[in-house]
């Protein structure tokens, strides 16, 4: 019998939608030209690039010239933080980031600190929410940038981006948001939300890896990191990865068309899973906000057991999941996100993230609810903590 395979790690990466592959194929097979070249081969690629830019710009109510394609959300976040910091260091050196940002924002900020910038972290409440008033009080005369993610990758909490953007606009400070987890899942209007810089990624929305973007509002004072042939309006030199960007644009188009229906479907499945786990497993708790959360994110913690062990037992039964446990991280540190929520290190140990997606079915949810209680029970029998 073929082993059952249920993928519940869509927040880590998504499979490519067949419709996206179809859109990419001609650019992998035939149209290989460098989009900077003047001949027909180049023109064909340049056309595809500009079409993709238009498609994506429209989705977030931006101008096409404000979209800079990059190779990853990590690159986009690096460009946003380092680019703004270096271009505006005469104005000030104070940068605010949330305490639950992705490592690529945290590490970029950490690197900037070594270069003489001052980084302050915005605290979150027990649900992972940022209080805009707190941010307003943290802003100083020399603050040049505020970076707060739209929705958290680990526990799914959605931040009050529109309010934060407004505060930054009032104080004339650049506002960046990492929307890697929310783009394609939550409608985004960069004007309505007062966003100056926004990161989005292809591989989280059923597009290929190797394509992402940074939206940069017109008139923003920012320095590029990659210097060279002047691609992407001089903001990101590198030969442009046309097939990946074609795929990204197609994926964004599909996600945008299906956003409402898919959110309704997924949030139902999400709530069934959360409630089912809570009902069937004692000492289980939800991490993150109960309602202000991504439609596809379930993050639970179980007292007295460890996440990597849960993961491996789930994997043995065909279910792919993730955890914030120290044991599963290369740094052997518990998830900084869950710690920021005030959850104790030993509790973070037993966290489990199940992230749903386009191919998750009710049967998948039922299967996980059927096998999970016995897995937790087995590990609790081995554990000395009750």
């Amino acid at each position: 019998m073929k082993k059952k395979q249920i993928y519940m790690d869509y927040a880590a990466s998504t499979p490519i939608d067949p419709r996206v592959i179809k859109a990419m194929l001609p650019y992998l097979k035939n149209y290989f030209g460098n989009s900077s070249s003047l001949h027909d081969f180049g023109n064909k690629s340049a056309e595809a690039l500009e079409k993709s830019r238009e498609i994506i710009a429209k989705i977030i109510s931006a101008d096409p010239r404000e979209i800079i394609f990059t190779a990853s959300a990590t690159e986009s976040n690096n460009l946003a933080l380092k680019g703004i910091a270096f271009a505006n260091r005469e104005k000030g050196r104070h940068i605010l980031i949330s305490s639950i940002e992705h490592d690529c924002v945290l590490e970029s900020a950490g690197w900037l600190q070594k270069q003489g910038f001052e980084i302050e972290k915005i605290p979150v409440d027990k649900y992972g929410l940022i209080d805009p008033e707190v941010v307003e009080n943290m802003i100083r005369k020399d603050t040049i940038l505020v970076s707060v993610m739209h929705a958290n990758n680990e526990m799914g909490t959605i931040e009050p981006i529109e309010k934060l953007g407004k505060i930054c606009r009032t104080h004339n400070i650049y506002f960046h948001t990492d929307a890697a987890q929310s783009f394609g899942k939550i409608p985004i209007d960069v004007n309505k939300m007062n966003i100056d810089l926004l990161t989005a990624s292809s591989q989280k929305i059923y597009g290929p890896k190797g394509a992402a973007l940074l939206y940069i509002r017109k008139g923003t004072n920012i320095e590029p990191i990659l210097h060279g042939g002047g691609h992407e309006f001089g903001m990101r030199s590198s030969t442009v990865n046309i097939p990946a960007i074609m795929g990204f644009a197609k994926a964004a188009e599909i996600a945008n068309e299906e956003i409402k229906k898919e959110n309704e479907r997924l949030s139902k499945l999400r709530d069934t899973l959360i409630e089912g786990i809570r009902r069937s497993i004692p000492k289980s708790h939800l991490n993150g906000h109960p309602t202000k959360r991504l439609s596809n994110n379930v993050n639970m913690r179980f007292d007295g057991i460890e996440g990597e062990s849960i993961l491996m037992l789930l994997n043995a039964q065909g279910v792919a999941a993730a955890t914030g446990s120290a044991c599963s991280s290369q740094k052997l540190q518990p998830s900084h996100v869950l710690l920021a929520l005030g959850i104790k290190p030993e509790e973070v140990h037993g966290s489990l993230r199940l992230s749903l997606g386009r191919w998750t079915t009710k049967e998948d949810i039922d299967y996980v609810l059927r096998i999970l209680p016995a897995i937790i029970q087995k590990l609790r029998e081995i554990s000395p903590v009750n």
Binding site: G304, E306, A316, C327, E346, I382, P384, V385
Partner: protein
């Protein structure tokens, strides 16, 4: 990432549980990763050999597998020989551990060491 032997010991750990009236108990916690391990030892009637040994572990795959392996290695050994079990013995018998997980084997060995030292300390009182 994990060897077949590690996974075998994780999916079907040997000697887990408690011993009701143990001769020795050792407990260690790892502040780095948050793991916790208890080792229970029952000696034979001459109080020389380990007749029964059990563990309880709050930890990852490697922590559970090393606990399971340590108890198998220590069972039926004299106290003296059990104290000679090294981290390398545990890792080798598991056909290797990822380097980042080597500290888990230290944890199991330490828990046994503490148990046996506790026992000897009590005895010498």
């Amino acid at each position: 990432m994990y060897s077949k032997k590690v996974l075998k010991n994780f999916y079907n750990p040997k000697n887990f549980g408690e011993i009701k009236d143990p001769d020795a108990v050792g407990q260690v916690g790892n502040t780095v990763c948050g793991d916790m391990m208890w080792i229970y030892v029952k000696l034979d009637k001459d109080k020389k050999k380990i007749k029964n040994i059990k563990f309880k572990t709050f930890g990852c795959v490697a922590a559970i597998a090393t606990s399971s392996m340590l108890t198998q290695l220590a069972k039926d050994k004299t106290i003296e020989d059990a104290l000679k079990i090294t981290d390398k013995d545990i890792i080798d018998n598991l056909e290797g551990l990822p380097p980042i997980k080597h500290h888990c084997s230290v944890l199991a060995r330490k828990a046994l060491g503490i148990a046996l030292e506790n026992y000897q300390g009590e005895k010498d009182k």
